[in-house]
């Protein structure tokens, strides 16, 4: 592998609201290799979507990417690009697909027009050529009769077809990186399976890198090469998919895995994580997971742990003091 | 706050006796303090500068003098009573258990334009109630020597000049405010009550009831409001009572539409379904679960409707279809000045400004309420 295509370092995106500072993303770092799929997992409000939007610099005010955050695409530093240069990146080098295929397409323009628009903008081609490319893309994502679909409005397609159209739009300019923000959450299970297969297949065929954001561990396990687990605006654990799911190091990852219901085994009770996700307005001091952690001791309440260990780094003091691991944590809730 | 014992409360009492609002100011509650100071000082000013007219209350024996007298007393009492009690203990308003109304009020309080509107409205009503004490002229008395006093430009004697009969325009505007400010409440009261009832019934029961009621609403809404009003009023003899009733009976359809829309969307909400699953009856569901949730939009509509009705009434009196002369109303003062617009611009200009400021204050309050009561802005 020839070095990462996307490097995010110490990304901090804060919302300066009237009610105070909301540190939605607070020091996130990761690399994305060429052709790799990176899964970002976390519960609601952990900052995974904001991380994606920050990469494209699409965070709406009062949200702001704080200074000293770096987002490097190849040799370009995205945080320092002019707005015009950044527009060159959006939809061209990096594209994004969103959770709600119902609302993410403009209801008053045709599918074909919306796809061709990006092609014409970034490729500088004419109307006819843009249309042709749009039809080609619709065919690529598996819509039957692509030529006829061009003139359809979004409301004439079903949910699954709309998400395919979104994917076609995102891939129309052969991006290097695709950001997929919960692309299957709003879909039925059987449709979700189709879309996941489609994404896997397209990625292999087109060789792009992908960041796949989801709250669903199963989905990420299925599609990602590497996974980062986010909680309260930070990365808590990072590693290869296999490692994360079979040997989680961080108590949060562990808890999350155990509280996920399984199809195979019938358990009398599910393990749980106590409490609920904290509000982004007031992250807990010290380790942000400590109020819900079964192993927490004094140090966790005061000092913020760094991402420790090398091959599967975990933001937990247990990495330094493994003897502190308690039984209660094993039993689960 | 609670720690301050007898000593503290005595201090507060003496500070409040000196000037209401002082204790609040000392505690750093600027808004409460300043408004109390303003209330107390303005009431005292009326008492001091209009002392002879206050005394006249007992000799003239007119009802508006008595209303003014009671207002003055109430204003003074309120200033001193609130001076002692306001802001005590409630400074530690806890977030837990705060109802949506309390939260809405907190939002409203933070909204400076809306609070400005509220102060303006309170001031307007005080001025209207105190009218006899605020001027030494009579609104409708025409002096014999008209030519000497007609069309006098604004001066110290006549703040807003005089009209073609030599009547003081400022005085006429003061007295004219009564019509604008009272008609609104009654007419809005009627139209809100009718509109809420029809809207709720239509939305909750649906079907044929809904279809019939809504066709009726459509029909009423098709008439340009003023055209319908002048037609009806012209057929009856124009009088304040007719205007109020006709306004109330013709303005309800828009409220009905708002309420119906809200009820329809509420009916789909799961908590209504839960109430049904618990076996609650329709009256209880409407009263306990639906009405409280449509109250917000209704209050907003009512406030904005107040401003609207003031404008409509002004238009009617401009056309001579409201209060018959010589009773002053803002609209007919403007009509009076129209003939001599160029020679005596002040006659038409000032009542118009009075209308603008009154309507602005209602609209500011209405907008503030909308922001404060809109649940979409929270959660």
């Amino acid at each position: 592998m020839s070095g990462p295509i996307l490097q995010v370092e110490n990304l901090r995106t804060y919302f300066h609201t009237a009610d105070g500072l909301v540190r939605a993303v607070d020091g996130v770092s990761f690399n994305l290799g060429r052709g790799e799929t990176l899964g970002i997992v976390g519960e609601s409000g952990c900052g995974k979507s904001i991380t994606c939007l920050s990469i494209l610099r699409l965070v709406d005010p009062p949200g702001r990417i704080e200074p000293d955050s770096t987002i490097r695409l190849g040799d370009r530093e995205l945080t320092r690009l002019s707005e015009a240069a950044m527009r060159e990146v959006r939809g061209n080098a990096i594209s994004m697909i969103f959770q709600e295929p119902m609302t993410s397409l403009n209801p008053v323009w045709t599918i074909g027009g919306q796809i061709a628009e990006a092609v014409r903008l970034h490729r500088g081609v004419g109307r006819a050529e843009g249309r042709e490319r749009a039809a080609e893309m619709l065919g690529l994502v598996g819509l039957a009769n692509p030529q006829r679909r061009l003139d359809d409005y979004p409301h004439e397609l079903s949910g699954g077809m709309r998400q395919r159209a979104m994917i076609a739009m995102a891939l129309a300019c052969d991006p290097d990186v695709l950001l997929a923000d919960e692309p299957t959450t709003a879909l039925d299970v059987t449709i979700q399976a189709e879309i996941l297969d489609l994404l896997c297949e397209l990625q292999e065929r087109l060789g792009m890198a992908m960041i796949f954001v989801s709250h669903d561990l199963g989905v990420v396990a299925q599609i990602a090469d590497r996974v980062i687990v986010m909680y309260a605006g930070q990365v808590l654990e990072e590693g290869a998919t296999e490692g994360i799911f079979s040997r989680p190091r961080h108590p949060y990852t562990e808890g999350l895995l155990r509280s996920t219901p399984k199809l195979t085994a019938k358990l009398p009770r599910l393990a749980t994580i106590a409490g609920s996700v904290p509000s982004p307005k007031r992250w807990p001091a010290g380790c942000r997971f400590h109020p819900r952690c079964p192993h927490a001791w004094d140090r966790c309440r005061e000092d913020v742990p760094p991402l420790l260990a090398v091959d599967q780094p975990s933001r937990c003091w247990l990495e330094e003091e493994p003897q502190r691991r308690t039984r209660r944590g094993e039993a689960g809730g | 706050m609670s720690a301050s014992g007898g000593n503290g409360s005595r201090k507060r009492l003496s500070a409040a006796a000196l000037l209401p609002g002082l204790p609040q100011l000392l505690r750093g509650q600027r808004r409460a303090g300043l408004s109390l100071v303003a209330l107390a000082l303005s009431m005292l000013a009326v008492l001091v500068f209009g002392f002879d007219r206050v005394l006249a209350t007992f000799t003239v024996g007119r009802i508006d003098y008595w209303v003014a007298f009671l207002t003055l007393l109430a204003g003074l009492a309120a200033a001193w009573w609130l001076g002692v009690s306001w802001g005590r203990g409630s400074s530690e308003d806890s977030a837990a258990g705060a109802s949506q109304w309390a939260i809405a009020w907190r939002e409203f309080e933070k909204n400076r334009p809306a609070m400005l509107g509220l102060y303006l409205m309170v001031a307007l009503y005080l001025v209207t109630l105190l009218a006899p004490y605020l001027t030494s002229y009579e609104p409708s008395v025409i002096v014999d020597d008209i030519m000497r006093v007609r069309h006098l430009a604004p001066s110290q004697d006549h703040l807003m000049g005089t009209d073609k009969y030599g009547r003081d325009v400022y005085t006429r505007i003061l007295y004219g405010a009564r019509i604008s400010l009272s008609i609104g409440f009654i007419a809005v009261g009627i139209s809100i009550a009718l509109g809420t009832l029809v809207g709720a019934v239509s939305g909750y029961f649906g079907g044929v009831v809904d279809a019939v009621l809504m066709r009726f609403v459509d029909t009423l809404i098709s008439f340009p409001r003023l055209v319908l009003l002048i037609t009806v009023i012209a057929l009856f003899q124009p009088s304040i009572l007719v205007v109020v009733v006709v306004l109330g009976l013709t303005l309800w359809p828009s409220t009905a539409r708002i309420v119906r829309g809200e009820v329809l969307s509420l009916r789909e909400r799961e908590f209504i379904e839960a109430a049904r699953a618990l076996g609650l009856g329709s009256p209880r569901i409407i009263l306990r679960h639906i009405i409280p949730n449509v109250l917000g939009p209704v209050i907003v509509a009512a406030t904005l409707g107040l401003g609207n009705i003031i404008l409509i009434e002004a238009g009617l009196s401009f056309l001579g279809l409201s209060a018959p002369p010589p009773t002053p109303s803002w609209g007919n003062i403007i009509t009076d000045g129209r003939e001599y617009l160029v020679e005596a611009w002040w006659v038409s200009t000032f009542p118009g400004l009075a209308i603008v400021f009154t309507v602005v204050s209602f609209n500011l309050i209405g907008d503030g309420l909308r922001d404060a009561l809109d649940p979409r802005l929270r959660v």
């Binding site: 494209l56 699409l58 990146v89 959006r90 939809g91 594209s95 709600e100 609302t103 993410s104 397409l105 403009n106 209801p107 008053v108 628009e117 990006a118 409005y153 409301h155 004439e156 979104m166 739009m169 | 066709r215 009726f216 459509d218 029909t219 009423l220 098709s222 008439f223 340009p224 409001r225 003023l226 055209v227 319908l228 002048i230 037609t231 009806v232 012209a234 057929l235 009856f236 401003g307 404008l311 002004a314 238009g315 401009f318 056309l319 609209g331 403007i334 129209r338 617009l341 160029v342 611009w345 038409s348 200009t349 009542p351 118009g352 209308i355 603008v356 309507v359 602005v360 609209n363 907008d367």
Partner: protein
């Protein structure tokens, strides 16, 4: 689509009947002898008696009602008591004038209102936005007739005392055209008419323009929050395209329906503004009729006003259905 238009047309029919019925009821409910509305110094008692028979007022109410319906639907709106000619003929002269005034205002309202609303939405929370919001608040709190008087006072009279004031910005205080109108060339007629239109159409339209601006602003802000705007930005489109292509069409669609909502409001204002500016339209006609107690004309004018509103709503709805690709679909689904 055609089915939708057809159905919408069918829906308008009961509305017209409702309007007719309501006007009839108002007449019936009015205190005193229904014939009282015809009691006028210029009408002799024996004529009244004759009319009573002609109008079938000696007949039971439901027969009167049917006759009333028949005559109005056949375009016979009765006879004016003061002018002694068919009301339909009088209104035929007046309707174009009112439509000219309201139409000009409507144009003004939407052009200015939408433009200001967009500027405000794009520059949300800026000083400009706040200033415009405040300005709009004052403007739509103004009575139109008072604004008209102020405009006359300043732009038709006061400015004549100001030497440097350009001639082109002095306007006539009243009427539809100058005394020498008939002598003017076609172009001269056009500019003269335009000159006379300026003040009344501003007085009539400016408050609605303020409210359209408010509506456009909030509609734009609502649309800008939508997911598809984020999608458009994620494609790398320049902000101009995002606003003008992706946001504007969505934001303006609901504004089309306002067209039908503003018209009754405009007609209300037209009564006042036509009185202020001595504009010979329907509003002026109804005002004069009331002054002269010419009630048949009052009722007929009211009816025509309402029917015009129904037609305007019809046009707005059909326009909306034509422009919005979703509407056909939804109608079919339901």
């Amino acid at each position: 689509m055609t089915a939708y238009i057809f159905r919408r047309l069918l829906q308008a029919i009961p509305l017209v009947f409702g309007i007719l019925t309501l006007v009839f009821v108002i007449l019936q409910v009015a205190p005193g002898d229904p014939m009282a509305i015809y009691m006028h110094p210029s009408v002799a008692p024996e004529v009244l008696e004759q009319m009573r028979e002609n109008y079938g007022l000696d007949q039971p109410v439901h027969i009167q009602y049917v006759r009333w319906l028949k005559s109005f639907l056949s375009g016979d709106l009765g006879t004016s008591l003061t002018q002694n000619r068919p009301i339909a003929a009088i209104l035929a002269e007046r309707i174009p004038n009112t439509l000219l005034l309201s139409g000009t205002s409507l144009l003004l309202i939407f052009a200015i209102g939408i433009a200001i609303g967009i500027v405000q939405a794009v520059r949300q929370h800026s000083k400009l936005d706040h200033a415009l919001t405040l300005g709009a608040l004052f403007i739509y709190s103004m009575p139109s007739f008072w604004l008209g008087l102020m405009l006359i006072l300043i732009l038709a009279y006061r400015v004549h005392w100001v030497e440097w004031w350009p001639e082109a910005l002095k306007f006539p205080p009243s009427g539809m055209d100058s005394v020498n109108y008939d002598l003017l060339s076609t172009w001269g007629k056009f500019t003269d008419r335009l000159d006379h239109l300026v003040l009344p159409s501003i007085a009539l339209g400016v408050s609605s323009a303020a409210s359209v601006a408010r509506y456009t602003r909030s509609s734009m802000l609502e649309v800008i929050r939508q997911d598809y705007i984020r999608t458009a930005r994620a494609k790398g489109l320049p902000e101009r395209t995002v606003i003008l292509k992706h946001a504007l069409k969505n934001a303006l669609l609901p504004i089309i329906t306002l067209l039908g909502l503003y018209l009754p409001f405009l007609f209300s204002g037209a009564v006042l503004v036509e009185v202020v500016f001595a504009w010979p339209g329907m509003g002026r006609a109804i005002y004069d009729a009331i002054q002269q107690r010419d009630y048949p004309t009052v009722m007929a004018t009211t009816f025509v006003f309402a029917v015009m509103v129904v037609i305007a709503n019809l046009i707005a709805d059909i326009l909306y259905a034509v422009v919005d690709p979703r509407i056909r679909y939804e109608r079919e689904r339901r």
